[in-house]
């Protein structure tokens, strides 16, 4: 025990209390990015930005930027739609979130979108890949039986499921991928999305035609989610390791020819391709196959380039960049947060597009009607038209994809909000029906990683990885908490190391894994 110096003899220096430099807004849970142990976390606001901070007993303190606009972070709370309870749960509540995935009965939302990773192998070795895929011979591919079981798990949980996405690895390399699409189409699953780098689509026209045929099945659709990060060679080399520009162009032209609808999916990283967002949108609008663009700040799970957790891209940052790069088209308020998941996870806008390339008129739908008057779940109880709310809920959701009948129907229903047929003699819903090929969707989705993970958001995640052992695991838990490593180990029989983010503050504590990602160094210096 230490004795204080006696202070009677001289007057103590006057001490002034100082204020903290941040506003404490949430107490939550996260994980240690090194050992993945669940830890307490707090969310704080500094300089109108939102940060998540946590401390692991073993590994110390970690902090990451989670939202670039604190005002919007707080105001979006009112757009948090009450979740829908899944028909079935696959696990029990035992250790608490995020250790019981899933889905456990404490999960707050059903699965809007189910993802099946059909393999771990890929014909690319991208420097950025949350799945840590590549030319690897120690991975796995799922079988017919496994795929059928995964689909059945999804259907049991959803009843009638809206969308399943086949991913990987590179799913077009799986020799049974067309059969897997058939398995989905013979079940009550309305839409299939194929998530691909486009190499096979560029070179195998027969394969594209087979996809096109399946897109014509009545009541069903097959749509393409094409990795598309930009136009500069450097973008391609640094994100994909190869210049794939001609592949992308050919893949898109082949899709257009086969009548397939494409979403351009861009991984966006600071200092790499953040300046190409406007060009990607404009290219998408001009290409006949493309009906939407999805921007995803690079998920710092799996394999990625070194990054600064305090200066990463978040949804408001991406939206701001879009506005700066196409100021005549976009302004603040054109994007609206998605209520089905946690509203800070995803923002969407829909555009009506007219004119010729180079001379476009762009009408963002949120400028035509007050979306917030319909999707406010805290203060709004009575609504002039619940049909419009329902339509907007489907459009602003994780299951909305251009090319699906649900999304097209709901776009038409939304036009009812603009209806003035009684007065002005224009049947806008009918008129907008004719506009369907002029509607364009932009999604901005910031997936969580071991740095940014907040169980508050995770508990309402509506994008789930369907695992071969019959579970539905929230996408961000799957990639952050260790489930991906667990499943790959079980499926391949090859032990997979715990993957740790390649964050600048961790550089001295990291070691390489065989797949290019990082893991905790055995005796890292402290």
């Amino acid at each position: 025990m230490r004795m204080e110096e006696p202070r009677m003899t001289q007057a103590p220096a006057p001490q002034r209390k100082v204020d903290r430099d941040e506003v404490f807004v949430e107490f939550t849970k996260s994980i240690c990015p090194l050992c993945k142990t669940p830890v307490d976390a707090q969310v704080n606001i500094r300089e109108n930005k939102v940060f998540l901070r946590k401390r692991c007993r073993e590994h110390g303190e970690f902090e990451a930027l989670v939202y670039g606009d604190a005002e919007e972070y707080l105001s979006s709370a009112r757009f948090n739609k009450p979740g829908t309870i899944s028909l079935t749960f696959q696990t029990e509540v035992k250790d608490g979130c995020p250790s019981d995935c899933g889905l456990c009965p404490e999960h707050k939302q059903h699965a809007c979108l189910g993802i099946i990773e059909v393999n771990t192998g890929c014909n690319l070795d991208c420097p950025i890949c949350f799945a840590d895929s590549g030319h690897q011979n120690d991975g796995y591919s799922i079988t017919h039986e496994q795929c059928a079981r995964m689909l059945d798990t999804f259907v049991a949980s959803e009843g009638e499921a809206e969308v399943v996405m086949y991913s990987g690895g590179e799913p077009t390399m799986h020799k049974h991928i067309l059969d897997f699409i058939d398995l989905a189409q013979t079940r009550p699953i309305k839409n299939v999305i194929l998530n691909t780098n486009g190499i096979r689509l560029a070179s195998d026209k027969r394969f594209v035609a087979e996809l096109g045929k399946r897109n014509q099945v009545p009541g069903k659709s097959v749509n393409i989610y094409l990795q598309f990060d930009g136009f500069q060679e450097r973008t391609h080399r640094e994100i994909r390791g190869r210049d794939l520009r001609t592949f992308k162009q050919r893949a898109l032209d082949n899709c257009a020819e086969a009548g397939l609808t494409v979403t351009l999916a861009a991984a966006v990283e600071r200092g790499l391709n953040e300046h190409e967002l406007g060009a990607i949108i404009e290219y998408g609008i001009d290409h006949p196959a493309v009906r939407s663009v999805a921007f995803q700040p690079v998920t710092h799970s799996g394999r990625h380039v070194a990054f600064d957790p305090l200066d990463r891209l978040t949804n408001p940052d991406v939206i701001k960049l879009i506005g700066e790069q196409r100021p005549g088209w976009f302004q603040k308020g054109d994007f609206f947060p998605v209520p089905c998941c946690f509203p800070t996870c995803r923002s969407i806008t829909y555009l009506l597009v007219d004119g010729e390339p180079g001379n476009r008129t762009i009408v963002p739908i949120p400028r035509l009607l007050h979306v917030e008057d319909y999707l406010d779940y805290v203060t709004n109880r009575v609504l002039p038209d619940t049909g419009i709310r329902e339509a907007l809920e489907k459009l602003w959701s994780a299951s909305a994809f251009m090319g699906t009948t649900t999304t097209e129907e709901k776009l038409r229903a939304t036009a009812k909000a603009l209806d003035c047929a009684d007065d002005c003699g224009i049947d806008l819903p009918q008129a907008v029906k004719d506009l369907n090929d002029k509607a364009f969707m932009i999604v901005v989705q910031d997936f969580q990683d071991p740095y940014t993970l907040n169980v508050k958001q995770l508990m309402k995640c509506c994008v789930e990885e369907i695992t071969p052992d019959g579970r539905l695991i929230p996408f961000c838990a799957y990639n952050s908490v260790g489930y991906r490593e667990e499943i790959r180990t079980a499926m391949s029989g090859v032990p997979v190391a715990n993957v740790v983010p390649n964050a600048l503050p961790l550089q001295e504590r990291l070691a390489d894994t065989p797949y290019g990602s990082k893991t905790a160094a055995k005796e890292g210096p402290r």
Binding site: D354, R367, V382, L383, P384, C420, D423, C424, A431, L435
Partner: protein, 280 residues
């Protein structure tokens, strides 16, 4: 009364014509086309903000002047459990508002009547609060309308107004023509003048707020709808007399006017002082 319509002279010669013009504009003209059926600047968020300053309690009686299709009245009845009377100059709107009340299951607490804001069909001191959203600017005799608000309000009751503000002598020429047709902003007044009008009716102004951003958003919405209609129904727009080639300049003039403080949107709360004035 001559039936109002888009072919009528937009510059009325008498107050009756102006009232008819504005009511008609809001119920069936190109305005409905461009603003939508239930839109006013600020949307539901501003209505809620307005309601928060009215001292409403469950069972309060509220009058919504120029109730349109009932959006504000229904929001108040639902969120504050109050009784609402809506009065609108357009019979078509009254009918639509009644339908909306039925659909919302609020018909037992919300009633709609066709009537004139300058001669409200209600006895004196019959309401705890009066609201009037985006409409006072369209009333030709604002002093008389304000006196009517005061008359039907009980002593201590409050009137809440959101409205277009404009400095008419400083409005650019593009807007005086568009204004007459679209939002009747040509007869909007500066915020201070609205406050004076209320004061003159024996209403003590307790709060004023500027919400000019709501006006900017309305301009954005008009532009978006113009573009939508150009995509879907260009011939109908032309028939309604909308000159699409002139639109960009007019919209830019409107944005500039908001930036210069010449055009805007405002919220006012006023309280009836104890001794009501008699209406002459």
């Amino acid at each position: 009364m001559t039936p109002p319509g888009p072919d009528n002279d937009p510059v009325p010669t008498a107050n009756e014509d102006l009232k008819a013009c504005c009511a008609a504009a809001y119920s069936c003209d190109v305005v409905a086309l461009l603003l939508g059926d239930s839109y006013h600047p600020g949307g539901a968020a501003l209505t809620r903000r307005l309601a928060g300053h009215l001292g409403l309690t469950a069972g309060s009686r509220v009058l919504d002047v120029a109730s349109g299709r009932g959006t504000t009245a229904l929001l108040l009845a639902d969120a504050h459990a109050v009784w609402v009377e809506g009065v609108d100059y357009s019979a078509a709107n009254t009918a639509l508002a009644r339908g909306a009340a039925q659909a919302a299951g609020l018909a037992d607490r919300v009633a709609f009547t066709t009537g004139d804001a300058e001669q409200l069909p209600y006895p004196a001191e019959s309401f705890d609060a009066v609201v009037c959203e985006c409409a006072l600017c369209t009333f030709p005799d604002k002093t008389r309308a304000a006196a009517e608000f005061a008359r039907v309000l009980r002593p201590g009751g409050r009137v809440g107004i959101t409205d277009v503000t404009a400095a008419p002598d400083r409005l650019p020429p593009e807007l005086s023509t568009l204004g007459a047709r679209i939002a009747c902003i040509a007869d909007a007044r500066p915020l201070a003048e609205y406050a004076e009008i209320l004061k003159g009716a024996g209403l003590r102004v307790v709060r004023t707020e500027r919400h000019d951003q709501a006006m900017t958003r309305m301009i954005d919405q008009i532009e978006a709808r113009l573009n939508l209609l150009r995509l879907t129904a260009p011939d109908r727009l032309a028939a309604a007399g909308v000159d699409l080639t002139a639109a960009p300049a007019v919209l830019q003039a409107a944005r500039d006017a908001v930036a210069d403080g010449v055009l805007g949107y405002a919220l006012l709360i006023a309280e009836r002082t104890d001794r009501p004035r008699s209406v002459t």
